[in-house]
Subunit: 158 residues, 2 copies
DNA sequence: GTCGATGCAAAGGCTTTGCACAGCC
DNA sequence: GGCTGTGCAAAGCCTTTGCATCGAC
């Protein structure tokens, strides 16, 4: 295979060429948002407001409207991924290669989350999709639960 | 009615006693909302707005604010269950016995959904919960996909 | 009769959008 | 230099809340 050294997903060059392919541009704001997620590493979930705040703290001013626009853009490009965690509102994380089979254990009380993987889940999603003639895009398991600390504080089950 | 047999979950008697246990009351509005879901049967997903519209059509007027309050109440009592389908906004469905292992195939384009079950998913959720010391409440797999019709209309992937 | 529930309308988050200006290619 | 992107503020959606009245118990 040619593809020499695949540059890290989301590097400025990657981002630039992906954008140009769509007739769009690489701006400092877009770099800042993506690089924030890269600094944090995979598995960090940020809301739009948190992205905005962290950029402000890093002296990298980006307006909130642009944060929203950029999160949507990067998600549509697959560089970020939107989570489905109603407890905490909309959140985004880095979209790695694992993104089709990438699951969350969420504490419904304090909102803390753990990630895990399990190929059986993707297999179940694929089976269901093929049974109904759907084309699978992504398979997200959310396990709503109580973390050890909250389970202690709230002994009665849902 | 004597009601010798165990009344179906969510019957007026059930609802009344559950409410009274919490110092709350059985009102016509609350009956109307729950009975709407029962008429539709399990596996139907309605937004607050849809509940409101359907009640209006059935000449059972309930204000939208009360619909919201009632959906929240019934969910907290476990008689309804909130779905996590970001594509279509917040939705509710009847909370049956299957609710711990109850999954959705969602078309990201047209929003249509299919339900399926697969014990392997619950097993995966339980494994993850126990690994991290969490107490599992509910296990929801959302398979984001394209339904047959939309897949045809939009041949390119994510 | 009491106290919780309802309806209405107003307020509240969060997110998107219109517009003039800035800046990437 | 053209056309996309940005910032700001205003608008929009969905949901919740304050308050007077109603009605279940």
């Amino acid at each position: 295979m040619p593809v020499p050294v695949r540059s890290p997903a989301g590097s400025p060059e990657d981002l630039r060429s992906s954008l140009h392919g769509r007739g769009q541009r690489l701006t400092p704001q877009r770099q800042r948002v993506l690089s924030l997620f890269e600094r944090l590493g995979e598995g960090r979930h940020l809301s739009a407001e948190e992205v905005h705040q962290r950029l402000l703290q890093a002296e990298e001013r980006v307006s909130l409207a642009t944060v929203y626009r950029t999160l949507r853009l990067l998600s549509s490009m697959g560089m970020l991924q939107e989570l489905e965690l109603p407890e905490g509102g909309r959140r985004f994380e880095l979209g790695g290669d694992h993104h089709r089979d990438h699951h969350h254990l969420v504490c419904v009380r304090c909102g803390c989350t753990e990630e895990f993987e399990n190929p059986a889940v993707l297999a179940a999603g694929e089976a269901a999709a093929s049974l109904h003639g759907f084309r699978l895009l992504e398979c997200v398991l959310n396990v709503r639960a109580l973390c050890p600390r909250c389970a202690q504080a709230e002994p009665n089950a849902t």
